[in-house]
Structure formats: C-alpha cells, structure tokens
C-alpha cells in the first residue's frame, strides 16, 4: 500500500495535501465543508462571501452541460453568483470549521464592491479564523459591474482592491483570475504589486453551451430568456493550464493555486507540473462527489513513487521550461506514422481523416481493409494516430528535412 507525504506549503501555509474545494456551492456551509474535510480534502476555499449590502438573488434553473456522445458531460455552465447565506452565518461557519479542523486549511473567498467593503470583508474573515484569503476578481455573472470578472480585467482596479484587502488583513492572500481576458499577466502583476502573495487561476469562462432549437433560447431557459455565463469542468483544463504556464513564465517563482477541470490525479499532476502548488476543484465534485479525493490522493502518491520523489515540491513547475514559444520548436524533421497491422481492425478512419482532413497520404487496400502510409505525401501531422480507435498508429520513422543541418538527432517525439 503506497504511502507518501502529500503535504505542501503554499504561501507559507502548510496543506496536508494539495487538494482543495474551489469556492463554489461545494463549500457552501459548515456541514458540507465538514464532510469534505472528513473525506480527505486538504483545504477548502469557502463559497465567496460578499458585502452585506449586496443582495444575492439567484435564477432557477441555473446550470447547463456540454455532452459528447456517451459522456455524461465534459463541460458545465453555471449562472450562480456568490454566497447566499448571510455574512454572519458564513463567518460563524468559518470560525467553527477552523476550530474543529485546525490541521486543515481554510481559505475565505471574498468579493467587495468598493475599497471599503474589500477591506472590511478581509478584516472580518481574518477575525473569523481563516488561514488565507482568496480575492474573487473573476465571477463572470455578477449583476453589478463593480464586481466580478469586469473588475478582473481592469489591472488598475485589481491593484487598488488588493491594497485594500492587505490593509484589512495580514493573512497570505491570492487573487483569483478571470480567463475572460487575452493576457492574464498584466492583471496578475498588478495584483502582486497591490500586495497579493499568489495567484489562483482560473475562474469560469464566459459561455453559451446550448441553444434550444425550437424556442431559440439559450440554455438553461430562465422564464423565456437566457444569459452568457461561466463555463467550467474537464473541457476548460487546457485553458487553465495555458494561463498558468504563461504566468509562470512571465513572473519567476510565482506561487499558483491551479483551478479548472481537474478530475483525476493525472489532471492534478499536470497542474502541478505547470507550477501549481495546490489544486482546486468544483465541477468534478458537483458531478461525482467529494469521494473523488481518494483517487486524487492515492493516484498522486503512486505517481510520486514512480517519479522517485518524496516531496510534492520537487514536481512543481517541472514542465514550465519544456513549454516554449512555437517559433522555437524544432522544425527540421518529419515523423511518419507506424501502423500496427495486427492491432488494426480495418475501420478506415485513418484513411478518411487523412484524406478529408490532412494530406491524402494514407492509402487504403480494399481487399485486406488495411491502410498504408505513402511517405511522398505524408507531412507527419499524425492526425491518423489521434483518430484510430484501437491505438494502432504510433510514431514511426523520423526523417530530416533537406533544410536540416547534417548530423541532427531527435530525442523525444510523441503524439
């Protein structure tokens, strides 16, 4: 039975393991958070707490999903805002959780609508006993433009609000970024200048998942209309990883809490390798429950063992230097597909995709129902390898282009 130390120190706070609930309904009150801690989550970012003056009034229904063939859903759209409970109730829950779970990490997510309210909320959650603060600068469906992702795209405003929070509290603080922006780096830098100690990324992506074809209204239909709102879940992982990579490259030693589409330990390991020290999860919990933390932890331990590391820190950011600008990639060679004729079941999908979506290099033998690659036409895109249903196509022979310098070698190629 594998046993590894999963603890990690992030912004000076020690987490028993890197897995946290991200701020959302999965950490809405005391009972939920208690169950989550008991299931094994290392930390909780409590549902975002807003100023007393801002009244939350939610719509119903409020979710939609993107499905694909047999998959229940790969993406999730929500129209929720922030905590519905009263400020007093939330603060009382925070205090009780910290008292009962001193070894677990409790993070208060806050969202003000003015410098005063940010400062005030920071002070209040600190008094309640939170270990850390997360500033929600990124909810895409707030009914006020002074709040949420509209703020998160305005670097100057973010900086001022960070300063306000720092005036209200000495706790370590991370600013949660919106992905609804071309470049996250300027906002992240502004937050750090304003006093943020680290960055949390990403919040949800503005989206429309589906449209009802009869009624011609976006989904979900809220009394005859719908709205653009935040997208999350497995489908957003690539976007999250990309933003984190960009920030980690632009801002040396940036401490990051990674969020967006983490379901399996493999997802988690990816977030760690691009530089996240903790990983936050919502959609996978909404879909499968807190219990997923068992396989997140156990799977990550096995990965550590395979990698021969004793501390998670040793893996943080290990992929950063291997993700480089596209213009710097090696363009000297072509790798041809290698087709395993034993594994091949003769479906012809590689042939179709190569013809209709690539370079007509895959040839088809009608008699034997087997493909073969014509190297004169193949450009080595390996689209065929991605569509083959049985994994019969892998990387094969590597050939250098005429323009390549003589004596070139290739170390590692994989599709």
């Amino acid at each position: 039975m594998v046993k590894k130390d999963l603890s990690i120190t992030f912004l000076g706070v020690k987490f028993p393991n890197p897995f946290c609930l991200s701020s959302s309904p999965v950490g809405n009150d005391y009972d939920m958070c208690k169950k989550a801690y008991d299931c094994g989550w290392g930390g909780i970012v409590f549902k975002t707490i807003g100023p007393k003056s801002y009244v939350i009034n939610e719509v119903s229904p409020r979710f939609d999903t993107l499905t694909k063939e047999a998959e229940p859903f790969v993406g999730f759209k929500n129209m929720e805002q922030i905590a519905e409970h009263s400020l007093e109730e939330n603060l009382a829950d925070l205090a009780r959780l910290k008292k009962e779970y001193p070894d677990k990490v409790l993070i208060a997510s806050i969202m003000g609508n003015s410098e005063e309210t940010w400062e005030d909320l920071a002070r209040k959650v600190t008094e309640a006993g939170a270990d850390m603060i997360e500033m929600n600068l990124s909810c895409p469906q707030m009914t006020s433009h002074a709040m949420g992702s509209d703020v998160g795209t305005n670097a100057e405003l973010c900086k001022r609000y960070c300063e306000a929070v720092k005036r209200g509290s000495k706790l370590p603080m991370m600013a949660k970024m919106t992905p609804n922006i071309t470049d996250m780096v300027p906002v992240a830098k502004a937050c750090l200048e304003g006093g943020a100690d680290g960055i949390a990324a990403i919040n949800t992506i503005k989206s429309i998942c589906n449209i009802d074809l009869d009624k011609k209204i976006g989904m979900p239909i809220v009394n005859g209309k719908s709205a653009i709102s935040g997208y999350s879940g497995k489908a957003v992982k690539p976007v999250a990883l990309r933003f984190i990579q960009q920030m980690r490259t632009a801002i040396p030693n940036l401490e990051v809490s990674g969020i967006g589409g983490c379901e399996t330990w493999e997802d988690a390991a990816e977030f760690i390798l691009v530089g996240s020290k903790t990983i936050q999860v919502t959609t996978a919990i909404m879909q499968y429950g807190y219990r997923i933390v068992e396989d997140l932890c156990n799977g990550l331990m096995h990965y550590m063992e395979e990698q021969h590391v004793d501390h998670l820190e040793q893996l943080v950011g290990k992929a950063n230097k291997n993700i480089i600008p596209a213009e710097e990639l090696d363009r000297d060679y072509i790798v041809y597909p290698s087709i395993d004729k034993e594994k091949c079941v003769g479906c012809g999908r590689c042939y179709i995709s190569c013809y209709d979506g690539a370079h007509q290099a895959m040839e088809w033998d009608e008699e034997s129902r087997r493909p073969s690659c014509n190297h004169d036409k193949c450009v080595g895109c390996l689209l065929c390898g991605h569509v083959c249903p049985v994994g019969a196509i892998s990387k094969g022979e590597v050939v250098f282009k005429k323009t390549a310098k003589p004596g070139r070698k290739v170390q590692d190629v994989r599709l």
Binding site: M1, V2, E294, D295, G299
Partner: protein, 402 residues
C-alpha cells in the same frame, strides 16, 4: 486434444475496453455491488478508481480486501453476488465486475506490485489443515497479523479445488500459482503431500489450528458404486487438471448432475474433443442450479442436456431414467459415466460432527473451521475468503486473549 482445454476461455480486457466498461458504471451511492460482495472486495470503489485512472489504487483496493482477488475475478458466480443488484441493469445489463477485477489484478501482477504489509511477529504459531481457498486465505491473513503459519496439504500441490477442481480454461494454474506465491511471500509455510490424521496432536503443538479441509470427496449414488466405468466429477476433473488435459476419454460420455460442477465436467469433455456428451439433470431448467453463464457455455459447446430426469436403474452400461413430472423414460448407454451429484467432507474422520450441509457443527478450544465446512456459508471461493476474514478475526482475538 488438450489445447482448447488449456487456453483461458474468456479474453481479458484491453486498457481501452476496461475504461469503456468502467464508464458504463453509474458510480452509485451506497453501491449495491459492494454490499453484495461476500468478501467485501468493494467493487464500487475499485471500479471508481479505474474510472479515475488510478489503476494502482484499484489494485490496492482489491488485494487489501480480498487476498484471492485474482482468482475470485475469474471464478466468482458474479450474477449471484456483486452483479445481482447492479443499478446499471435498470438501463441495460450489469457491469462486468469480475472482468474488471481481472484486469485490475492482472495489472497488479504485470507491475509486480507488492501491496500487502505484514505486522511484526507476535510469536504465535498457527497450523492450517487444507490449502484450498479457505486455508490459503486464513494463512495469509494470520501471517499479516504476525503469526507464524504452517499449512498442511495432503495433495501434491496446494490450492484445493482451485488447483484440482476448476478447469484450466476457467482458472489457469499459473494464476493459482501466483496467488499462492503471494501468500508464501508473507512467510506462510506450505507442507504438501502431508495428510493430517491426528488433529489432537496438532492442537497441542500449535497455539491455534484451523481446519479447512473442504468437501474433498465426490458423492456416489448406490446403484453406480463399484463400476470401473463410473467416476465422480471431482475425480475426473482432478485427473484432467493434473495431466494438463492429457487424459483418455471415450467418444460417448454420460454426465449426471446439473450444478456448476456438472457444467465444468461437460464443458471440459467437449473441449477435450468428446463427440457425444449427454447431461441428464434432476432439476428442470426452471430450477437449474448452474449459473446461466456456465449453462450457456456448455450449450455453446454442443452438450445434449435433458432436464427433469432421475436415474432408476443401471443395466450393463445403460442407465434408465424417468421424468419427475411427465410419464417419460429415457435410456442412455455410455462408455463412461460421470456423477456430479455433490461433494462431501471427510472432516468426520477427526471425530467431528458433520451436518447435512457437510458443515462441521461445533468446534472448541483452539480449533477453528473455515471454508466449505464453516457453518452457515455458501460453498464458493469468495465465501471461503469471507469465512477466512471472519475466522482470522476470531483466531486473533483468541490468541490475544491468552
């Protein structure tokens, strides 16, 4: 002739297929499958691990909960246990839990994972009589607790009916070998070709003795006794397994019985190339004891099955049967007759009281029972594991309290 017999009948999953099957799982709350596994293998948990790509974790769950996980994966009558209440049946058909478990334990084997961890020695000595699934499981479990365990086995090789009963095409000997190695690795000593006759002596020499001698004898019906062309099912299967399928069988064989053991016999005969295999069964199809899977396997092989008939007389090599409900009579002549009408225990030889279900009624002092002779369980491998878990706990308590 033995080629078909030696090849595992059902192919294992590929990584892609196991994922597809795991994706069919509904990841139920309070999962019926886990509640229904007699050994507490917790299929809902290991399937979830597969679903979330944690294959090693899945292997840990199986192995920690079920010390014979790789064998159960192949031989459990899952339709009666874990798959019986599977929620997926509400959509189409249950998850193939046994086959997922097989993938997971094959994975464990491929990576040579070493999952079980022994506690420090507690200085206690335990003897186990019989190396079937029950004896092996309890030996392993007590070794994990720190006991020094010796298993006594009268046969030349360990494994009981896993070794000499279940046919090769369902349970390859290599799988049994590996499970036994795993248990030996925990420090268990197995003394084969050593029949225990004096139980009292053993009880004096060891702190505790576990009797796991199973139902090692095939039952005979009086009218068939003493004929050279009549064999019991377990003797026949034993012979096949020992000789790796190189046994001489005539072209026309009659089998009497309709349980899983009978199905193993008729399917084995067919795989060995016997032309005419006739199975005459006391139960009618609606009352059939054999699992559907086994029955279908036999039918697929082309076995003639007659249901509802009772043997009434034997003349030469011809058996006369009459039907239980309709006025009907058949005569079957065969060159070999195999009786699959149940097994009995030989535990009575130790002076112990044996009941109608072939269970030992009562044991006292430092003597315990386990497996088929344990009171109150079903007679399957997974129940042997379950009883081993229960009895290991009792033995531990007994030894601790001394």
């Amino acid at each position: 002739m033995s080629e078909k017999y030696l090849k595992e009948y059902e192919a294992g999953y590929t990584p892609k297929l196991v994922m597809e099957e795991a994706s069919r799982c509904l990841l139920c709350h309070d999962a019926p499958c886990s509640k229904a596994c007699p050994a507490g293998t917790d299929p809902a948990k290991f399937i979830r691990s597969v679903r979330f790509k944690n294959f090693k974790g899945a292997a840990e769950t199986v192995r920690i909960n079920n010390i014979l996980g790789a064998i159960c994966a192949r031989v459990c009558p899952t339709e009666r246990y874990c798959q019986l209440g599977c929620s997926r049946s509400g959509i189409d058909k249950p998850i193939d839990i046994g086959r997922i478990q097989r993938y997971v334990t094959d994975y464990e084997d491929c990576l040579k994972m070493d999952i079980l961890e022994k506690k420090a020695s507690n200085g206690k000595k335990v003897a186990v009589v019989g190396s079937g699934p029950a004896g092996l499981s309890i030996a392993g479990l007590l070794a994990l607790e720190g006991c020094s365990v010796v298993v006594f086995e009268k046969d030349a090789k360990a494994g009981g009916y896993m070794r000499y009963g279940m046919p090769e095409y369902r349970l390859p000997s290599s799988v049994v070998d590996k499970e036994i190695k795993r248990i030996q690795k925990l420090g268990v000593e197995i003394r084969t070709s050593t029949k225990v006759e004096d139980l009292k002596k053993l009880q004096k020499e060891y702190d505790a003795v576990v009797l796991a001698v199973g139902h090692s004898k095939g039952k005979m019906l009086p009218m068939f006794e003493g004929h050279r062309f009549v064999k019991t099912a377990v003797d026949f299967l034993h012979d096949c397994k020992k000789k790796k399928g190189n046994v001489k069988v005539p072209d026309n064989v009659l089998v009497i019985g309709g349980g899983d053991v009978a199905m193993d016999v008729v399917t084995t005969l067919k795989l060995l190339g016997v032309k005419q295999v006739t199975d005459v069964v006391y139960e009618t199809f609606s009352e059939f004891k054999a699992s559907k899977k086994e029955l279908m396997g036999a039918q697929e092989q082309g076995v003639s099955i007659m249901d509802g008939f009772v043997p009434v007389s034997l003349k030469g090599k011809t058996v006369r049967f009459t039907h239980r409900f309709v006025p009907s009579e058949v005569k079957v002549k065969a060159d070999l007759i195999i009786l699959a009408v149940g097994q009995a225990t030989e535990a009575g030889a130790f002076g112990l009281e044996v009941n109608k279900l072939q269970e030992v009624e009562k044991v006292e002092g430092n003597l315990f029972t386990c497996g088929d002779i344990y009171k109150g369980g079903e007679k399957t491998v997974v129940y042997a594991v379950r009883s081993a878990k229960e009895v290991a706990y009792k033995v531990k308590k007994y030894l601790g309290g001394k």
